[in-house]
């Protein structure tokens, strides 16, 4: 309803600012469309009655409210657009503001890092904030992991949650069946996930773009369905319970006599474990970040970025696309697996329900929102997304509605993400101001 038509009629082009009559007409059309769309879905509510017979009742008041909201919203959007002006207008930013912005941009990463380190100190007594911070860091790590595949190598992966699941189940099953400790299982989980990444990578080497996306999606679903149905191994829908907590060099963080608190001679508090978990995930996330940044400077990382820009050119230059793609999948999966193992030990309980397509989409949204390739952008996007979800906690049933709409609006508003410009990290002599907007998207 508020789409910009590409071939606008001449009348609309000559009058840049549409008149009141035009706005009103547009709003009326929108309201009418909304009335038809919502008439049955909102105006009528169905539910299975006491005898299993379907009954329905009408909700015309809700319908009226929604239609009125669309009418008002349409007028508002049109007025905003008038106020904002045409989309492609170049806005002049004064140099003083620009320099201040660039300073802020350089400072934001270290400040954020220091703040993150201090979170357990600042919010020691706020269990809720600590839990939330752990959650955000988990998604930061997942985002950074997926960023290797999507942001650097340009391979659209919709099944990333599969590796998260592999990591989580690897740790859960190894720990509950063989009693292995978290610190032994963590690398194992990462290796297993990387192995699965290669396994997925092999068949999809020849696929590109949307096909690749849909195959990875199918792969993620297959993993989830196998987890649900292979009851003897995974416990099926009931999941795995009683997953052991991590220890500090073999010292458990429990109130027991051999626990950390008793050894240090301080009073036990459950917060110790939360803080410990916080620093584990922070270390894991920073490891992900460090490895990614280092890899980007290696020939391999450069090959990833080249692959993202143009696969055909890559092959012509003699880059081995097979190993390039496989290493991207494996690296991304490795970090997904590590995050999964952490998730399992933090929750103490995992079930296939935690590894649905929604998770993949959420992580992907974080990467895209963060600007595909920007490490800082991904971290900020994870903070915004998970924080935003928390704000909507009271409206839990509308969560996916808001999330979906946000995704659509973001794609329309800033398809390149909030922070990102996918500028290459290496260049000859001086960086040319070619943003990726000007470069044709590779087909990889």
């Amino acid at each position: 309803m508020d789409g910009r038509s590409v071939s606008a009629p001449p009348a609309a082009q000559t009058s840049r600012a549409p008149g009141a009559a035009f706005i009103l007409k547009k709003a009326l059309i929108s309201a009418f469309v909304a009335l038809v769309l919502f008439s049955l879905m909102i105006g009528v509510r169905t539910e299975a009655g006491p005898q299993g017979q379907l009954v329905y009742w009408t909700r015309f008041d809700d319908l009226a409210v929604m239609v009125a909201a669309v009418f008002g919203g349409s007028i508002l959007v049109e007025l905003l657009r008038r106020w904002w002006g045409p989309v492609d207008t170049v806005r002049v930013v004064p140099p003083s503001v620009q320099s201040a912005l660039s300073l802020a941009r350089r400072l934001v990463a270290p400040v954020l890092l220091v703040f993150t380190f201090l979170v357990p100190v600042l919010f020691y007594n706020e269990r809720y904030i600590l839990d939330l911070a752990i959650l955000v860091l988990t998604y930061v790590m997942l985002g950074w992991g997926l960023n290797v595949v999507v942001g650097l190598a340009g391979l659209l992966d919709l099944g990333y949650v599969a590796f998260y699941a592999v990591g989580a189940y690897s740790y859960a099953l190894l720990a509950t069946n063989f009693g292995l400790s978290f610190w032994i299982c963590l690398p194992l989980a990462g290796i297993l996930a990387a192995f699965w990444g290669v396994l997925l990578g092999f068949p999809v080497l020849r696929l590109r773009g949307d096909y690749l996306a849909i195959v990875t999606l199918a792969f993620g679903e297959i993993i989830r369905l196998v987890l649900i149905n292979w009851q003897t191994l995974t416990g099926g829908p009931n999941g795995v319970t009683g997953i052991p907590r991590p220890t500090l060099f073999g010292i458990p963080l429990t109130p027991a006599d051999d626990g950390l608190a008793a050894l240090l001679g301080i009073e036990f508090s459950p917060t110790h474990r939360i803080v410990f978990l916080f620093y584990i995930i922070l270390a894991l996330a920073l490891l992900t970040n460090w490895v990614t940044i280092r890899l980007r400077r290696l020939p391999l990382g450069r090959a990833w970025e080249a692959l993202r820009e143009d696969e055909v050119a890559c092959r012509a230059l003699g880059i081995n696309t097979t190993t390039t793609k496989l290493t991207a999948f494996a690296t991304g999966a490795l970090f997904g697996g590590l995050a999964g193992a952490f998730f399992a030990t933090r929750q103490g309980f995992i079930s296939p329900e935690s590894f649905t397509f929604h998770e993949s989409a959420l992580v992907l949204a974080i990467v895209v929102l963060g600007g595909m390739g920007s490490q800082l952008g991904v971290a900020l996007a994870a903070l915004a997304m998970i924080g935003g979800f928390e704000l909507f906690r009271g409206f839990d049933q509308y969560r996916m509605l808001v999330f979906g709409m946000a995704m659509v609006l973001l794609m329309i508003w800033r398809p390149r993400g909030l922070v990102g410009h996918r500028a290459p990290t290496v260049f000859l002599k001086h960086s040319q101001a070619i943003s990726s907007d000007l470069v044709k998207e590779g087909h990889g």
């Binding site: 008439s39 009528v44 379907l54 096909y211 509605l401």
Partner: protein, 305 residues
């Protein structure tokens, strides 16, 4: 043998439903070159609208089944088509010249919006309907008392599918709109230079795809007797598999792919395990894309630098 024949019938009916949804994927992919991720949820919305219309008609005391079915079909096609149009207008049209991943992500967002929308407005519980069309024919009675049946619902599903497929094949091959659509799928810029209204043609593609998905939704409702807000996701992926299997961009291919997927799924559930039927369908998707990326009836895509 009788068991196999019965499964064959069931598979063909299920395949018809998949085929109807797959046509929507294949048409949109052929013209815009994107996977309309929200299409499965459009199918789900179609099912819901059919259900609500049916309830209202019955409560008004209408008893003539053919009349009810016709009205339900038309209403759900009309409203669902408007959903398809709106989705294109809101989520895809502004992104038509954006970077390649943008429409895909926007479509994923739209898919979440639609499924959550019907969850919020109609509740999360499965909506069962009593069988609307009963009866059928016994084709063959085996020696052990196993009866091969062809129910009236199955006949209606298959016949409706065939009629609609014929109608839309005619539409694409012999009408002005169909010519425009084919022109747009080959070269949008050139088509617009030659006076084809590209925007309108793309909108109509979405409208037609959504209308067919609505028919599929209604058939699903008639055949299985239930709808829920989550059914669009899996059905959508399977229908997409069907479109890919048949060769994306090809209308008969989508139908053929749908039938094959329906058959494979039914036979797999009958002879191997019901739990892994979705795994089978998804594995086929992967295998087909690896060994037969152009599908059965598709044309190979030439890679240009």
């Amino acid at each position: 043998m009788d068991y196999f024949a019965q499964q064959l019938i069931n598979g063909l009916v299920l395949g018809s439903i998949y085929g109807l949804i797959a046509i929507g994927y294949t048409m949109v992919y052929g013209i815009v070159g994107m996977i309309n991720f929200a299409h499965g949820d459009i199918f789900m919305i179609g099912g819901f609208i059919a259900l609500i219309t049916f309830l209202i008609l019955v409560s008004f005391g209408l008893t003539a089944i053919p009349l009810i079915l016709l009205v339900v079909l038309l209403v759900s096609m009309a409203i669902t088509a408007l959903y398809g149009w709106t989705v294109e207008r809101i989520a895809y049209r502004p992104l038509r010249h954006s970077f390649r991943l943008a429409p895909m992500l926007s479509a994923i967002g739209m898919s979440f919006v639609l499924s959550n929308y019907s969850q919020v407005t109609q509740g999360a519980r499965v909506k069962p309907v009593p069988p609307i069309i009963t009866g059928g024919y016994t084709l063959h009675e085996g020696p052990e008392g196993f009866i091969v049946q062809l129910s009236n619902v199955q006949i209606i599903v298959v016949v409706t599918t065939i009629v609609l497929l014929a109608l839309f094949t005619w539409l694409v091959s012999s009408t002005r709109l169909g010519r425009d659509m084919r022109a747009c799928s080959q070269d949008q810029t050139m088509a617009s230079l030659l006076g084809v209204d590209v925007d309108r043609t793309i909108s109509m593609t979405f409208v037609i795809g959504a209308a067919l998905a609505a028919v599929a939704g209604m058939m699903y409702l008639l055949y299985y007797g239930l709808v829920d807000f989550f059914m669009g996701f899996v059905a959508g992926i399977k229908a997409f598999t069907a479109a890919v299997l048949g060769g994306i961009g090809s209308l008969p291919g989508a139908m053929l792919g749908g039938l094959l997927i329906g058959l494979i799924e039914t036979l797999w559930s009958a002879y191997f395990s019901v739990e892994y039927k979705d795994v089978a369908a998804f594995s086929i998707l992967i295998v087909v894309l690896i060994f037969l990326p152009t599908g059965l009836l598709g044309r190979p895509e030439v890679e240009k630098v």
